[in-house]
Subunit: 325 residues, 2 copies
């Protein structure tokens, strides 16, 4: 039943958002259906046309797995029934990925408020997936073009983000990032560490976090056999990444990462979760309630997530293959 091409589970997200629409539009692309065995998971009432039941057996087919739930709902609005449907689909997809029935999980967007209504007081899918996977050791990696960025800190005031930087935390993130880059097929990943201050402090002239906090973490990671460069001038390291001069950048705060990521993503930025027992890839857009149900949503970002997932699964498999032969 399982041919060479990867199987990828694709959850439809919150049915009141643009998830079902972009999933349907992505499925219309023959090249995607030829390249991977897509298994769409969602409500029957949102089921795209032309899908077979369960796993697709032939290239060009895509399959569908139904989750029980609402038959009607209002578009563009947070609702308990939609939160429940999104949760069910995510659970089914996560189980399949964890069991290895699929090689990757790709998720359309959910609505945080609807998840809360459905009884899950979480930030989003990442937190749920990590909990279900039984790990507290996880972190988001954002990808745009050739740039792969892991963040040390995220949604907190910049002052607090700076204050929270520690040698331990950097070491922890470098280890996880190193493993994650290996898991997507980069055998000897080169991670570039971003500095905090202008010109990475320019030898202590503009701040000493680089020598005091970052440098010891870098040296310890090198002693563990990792290829880490830096701390680099923040205004150069992302440019370097965009030109393929490193395999990943560990960034220190939200905007250090997202300013370059948004400039370079051009609608095709994706995230993956480092630390899960399987590959999970997501587009970066949300449910877009303001345009949900109008037929004008753009599937480009979801297509990019599916293509990345297939590539990474492929790289992973060939990396394993290379090791064996």
């Amino acid at each position: 039943m399982k041919p060479q091409r990867p199987y990828i589970a694709l959850t439809m997200g919150d049915p009141a958002g643009i998830g079902p629409e972009v999933v349907t539009k992505a499925l219309a692309r023959t090249d995607l259906r030829e390249r991977m065995g897509l298994l769409v998971i969602g409500l029957e009432a949102a089921r795209p046309e032309g899908l077979v039941d369960g796993f697709p057996e032939h290239p060009g087919q895509a399959g569908f797995v139904e989750v029980a739930g609402a038959k009607t709902w209002e578009m563009g609005k947070a609702q308990e029934a939609c939160g429940l449907a999104a949760l069910s689909a995510l659970e089914v997809g996560a189980d399949m990925a964890k069991r290895g029935d699929v090689q990757a999980l790709v998720t359309a967007p959910v609505c945080k408020e609807a998840l809360h209504m459905a009884g899950e007081k979480v930030e989003g899918q990442t937190e749920l997936l990590a909990r279900w996977d039984g790990t507290e050791r996880y972190e988001m990696v954002a990808v745009a073009g050739d740039m792969r960025v892991m963040l040390l800190t995220r949604h907190m005031p910049l002052r607090e983000a700076i204050a929270s930087i520690s040698t331990d935390s950097i070491g922890w993130h470098l280890d996880l990032f190193h493993e994650t880059l290996r898991s997507i097929g980069i055998e000897h990943p080169h991670i570039a560490m971003a500095g905090l201050n202008p010109h990475a402090g320019e030898g202590g002239l503009f701040g000493n976090e680089e020598s005091r906090i970052l440098q010891p973490a870098i040296e310890a990671a090198r002693a563990r056999g990792q290829h880490i460069s830096g701390p680099h001038s923040p205004d150069m390291v992302f440019l370097d990444a965009s030109q393929g001069k490193n395999d990943g950048v560990l960034a220190l705060y939200h905007d250090q990462a997202f300013i370059p990521l948004k400039l370079l993503s051009k609608g095709r930025g994706v995230t993956l979760i480092a630390g899960l027992s399987y590959l999970r890839v997501s587009p970066v857009h949300g449910t877009a309630f303001d345009i949900a149900g109008q037929g004008i949503a753009d599937e480009t970002n979801l297509v990019a997530a599916l293509e990345r997932a297939a590539t990474w699964v492929g790289d992973q498999q060939s990396a394993i293959g290379d090791t064996v032969t």
Copy 2:
């Protein structure tokens, strides 16, 4: 003697750096010599071939103004004689621009160490030009593609940069930026104010500098008749700028500005000095002592500076013309 096209003074910078080489290469471009009346200022020993003495009278010609100084020097090294030559050329160019003999000053790079040897303990040309122009009210504006960015703070630790942000300082910079954008031909400039925290604080969830410090400055500037938007999410405002959705961004710290600027400059980034009595444009590269004298320096950045200067002078002149007619 002065035809319609703008006259632009072009200083050769430190003769031991790549300045003379990129000036010579830029002058070889007929399109530039047709578009503007270039007046090169430097040592006779570094004089590019084919220049007339003094102001060029015909399109396609370029002129030369000699400054007294060294006849020989060592390439790729900081020397007093070279610092003196760079200073002399800069003084002559600044005088011409201040008197209105030329419509803009474009400067090849100098070496800070050589300036120090020559008796001027300054950070660089910007500080000298402001002093000679008799102003303490000046600031750098960096330009890449459609993005124009003024910086509130520059070379200091990120912690200190954050601590130094004040409503007064923002108001001061907004005023200067507003005037500067008008001076390069944007009649009603829209300045976008960057926030400090992730998502500009997201309504106070991740920091309150936006409401406490930035918002009052924005409101005061609006009351003075300026078009200011924001505070914007830092990860969106530079993307917006790159798509022409604002005329300028006021950035709060070095890397908030230079991460996007370096990504988008593609070797053609330039700076101008806001607050001078004349237009001064500069490429962003330095003397590049490591490759000086090898004939491999790239003139693209200097050409971009000359083209920007000619455009801005033209926009300025048409803006003035529009007002009169």
